[in-house]
């Protein structure tokens, strides 16, 4: 069968990808700019007899995910910035109990109520854990509708493989924009394997009783649990790092940007190249684990970096950690819901090239 291209909003494509990934339960609370995703799940999950609940709050939603995930089912929630803040305790619990789950943040401008336009001001929250304690979640940053669908679909598998939440960090533009998308093969949840670590069906699974929990009041034991988790994190860093490099080979200045700002930077790159400037783009796809080494290697080769974000400067800390003083790192950011234009970014690169 030829692959059919469908025109979809990012929010809808994420929803459809989740449905196709065999998501059995969606729990969400309305918030702009991700409402189409919740509405999509309402239509398509209910139509398939799967679970859709408009939860009473984001806090309830993430804890419903916790419950569903405990049974080994593929479960998801989505929200936007303020709502994702409310989920931080729950995410910390998912990590502490080693449960898989998919969490979507279609980010908007903050802080506080802020605005409803696209922003990348939740990078710290996503990559450093806005919740308490030592933990990380896998963070994937799509640059468009196709990648939003692909990464969402894949996220469920990653979450199960690594027994942890996977966060898709999109923004209002990715969510609201329409592009053509080829959707992945649907998986019927009934064909997904039951999990040996999950609760329910103990007889069928011929196993002792399972206990899903994150508590341990004995410091040595809790420390051991943490260290084991961090060993897994180390393994993830080896296996999962993903990024895209565009024309970095001969570049003097390399844009570092993810998601929407990477799209814009790519446009700026084209303008620059058209004018003969040697500009490249480094786009992290996994924000955690972050491609530190890859950037370090570029730094060693004498490149300079211009970090482009829709924030006051958050990923730039990872870029600076990556290059570790080996190269200058500059910053260009817009915020408040403003998206930088490719012309602005180009102008900034031009200014730097004179330095």
């Amino acid at each position: 069968m030829a692959e059919e291209i469908r025109l979809m909003k990012g929010n809808e494509a994420i929803g459809e990808a989740a449905v196709r990934a065999g998501c059995r339960a969606y729990f969400g609370y309305p918030i702009t700019p991700q409402n189409e995703l919740t509405a999509y799940m309402a239509r398509h999950m209910l139509a398939r007899g799967r679970t859709f609940i408009q939860a009473e709050s984001e806090v309830a939603a993430i804890n419903m995910v916790y419950g569903a995930a405990s049974t080994g089912a593929r479960a998801m929630t989505s929200s936007s910035s303020p709502g994702v803040s409310l989920k931080q305790e729950g995410i910390s619990y998912l990590c502490g109990a080693d449960l898989p789950a998919v969490v979507i943040n279609v980010a908007r401008a903050g802080p506080g109520l802020g605005g409803i336009s696209p922003a990348q001001g939740d990078y710290f929250q996503a990559t450093r854990g806005g919740g308490h304690g030592d933990y990380y979640t896998i963070v994937l940053a799509p640059k468009g509708v196709q990648e939003a669908a692909d990464l969402t679909y894949e996220a469920f598998g990653l979450a199960e493989k690594w027994r942890m939440p996977v966060l898709i960090l999109a923004d209002g533009l990715i969510g609201q924009m329409m592009e053509g998308v080829v959707l992945p093969e649907p998986i019927d949840p009934v064909n997904l394997q039951r999990k040996s670590w999950a609760v329910g069906h103990s007889v069928e699974m011929a196993r002792p009783y399972n206990h899903i929990s994150s508590i341990n009041l004995i410091p040595d034991e809790l420390e051991a649990m943490n260290r084991k988790r961090f060993e897994r994190y180390a393994q993830i860093k080896k296996e999962l790092i993903r990024y895209e490099e565009i024309e970095v080979e001969d570049a003097d200045i390399v844009f570092v940007a993810y998601g929407t700002s990477a799209r814009v930077s790519h446009g700026a790159l084209q303008i620059a190249r058209a004018k003969g400037m040697k500009v490249g783009l480094f786009r992290p796809i996994t924000l955690w684990p972050f491609p530190y080494e890859q950037l370090y290697r570029l730094a060693e080769r004498g490149k300079r970096f211009l970090c482009v974000e829709m924030s006051m400067g958050q990923m730039i800390e990872d870029v600076r950690l990556a290059v570790s003083g080996k190269a200058p790192v500059y910053f260009y950011g817009r915020c408040g819901g403003n998206i930088p234009s490719q012309e602005e970014v180009f102008a900034e690169a031009l200014r730097l090239s004179g330095k």
């Binding site: 291209i5 025109l7 605005g115 409803i116 336009s117 468009g144 533009l173 609201q176 924009m177 329409m178 592009e179 053509g180 799209r263 814009v264 790519h266 446009g267 700026a268 790159l269 084209q270 998206i339 234009s341 490719q342 012309e343």
Partner: protein, 178 residues
């Protein structure tokens, strides 16, 4: 070929559906597309804008800041529309509502009396389709030839009856600028 279009008007003029149908058709014609709407925060029934790009290669920034073509559906939108148009670009104005031309002597400005033609066709709401037809003609970027297969699934069932008048409107639009 890349055609970046900036569409602007006020809520209710069908800016969003114009942009969506434009990229639907483009996709059917084998192009890559992006469509990004923006609703003004200022007030309900306020501004409506869309960044619309069709291209035969990968599209980078989906935000149209320097437009190949600009669609201006009402007078209030002239200010933003004239700013965004590239040097020597195309500007299509809905001359039914826009009485003062964009101050862009370098641009190719087309005047399409969308509301009037639409009223003649019997429904002022197809003004946007007239404009889309004109845009197709003047840019040549999207042929709009698949509208008849697209519209039935685009419209909800209770609006199916409007398919014909919409297609007629597009054809009218093409003719005005022919």
């Amino acid at each position: 070929m890349t055609e970046k279009t900036f569409m602007t008007g006020f809520g209710g003029q069908g800016i969003i559906s114009m942009g969506q149908l434009w990229v639907y058709c483009a996709m059917k014609e084998g192009l890559k597309v992006t469509f990004f709407p923006f609703y003004g925060a200022e007030k309900r029934g306020g501004i409506a804008r869309a960044s619309v790009i069709v291209s035969d290669s990968e599209i980078t920034s989906p935000i149209v800041t320097v437009a190949d073509s600009v669609v201006i559906m009402n007078q209030d939108s002239v200010e933003i529309g004239e700013k965004v148009c590239k040097e020597g670009g195309i500007i299509c104005v809905n001359s039914s509502l826009v009485k003062k031309d964009p101050a862009r002597p370098d641009a190719r400005i087309y005047h399409i009396p969308c509301n009037e033609i639409a009223l003649k066709l019997g429904n002022v709401r197809v003004a946007n389709m007239i404009m889309m037809g004109a845009l197709s003609k003047v840019t040549g970027a999207v042929k709009l030839q698949d509208l008849d297969t697209i519209l039935p699934s685009y419209f909800s069932s209770n609006k199916r009856s409007l398919i014909e008048i919409n297609i007629a409107a597009v054809e009218e639009g093409k003719k005005v600028v022919a």
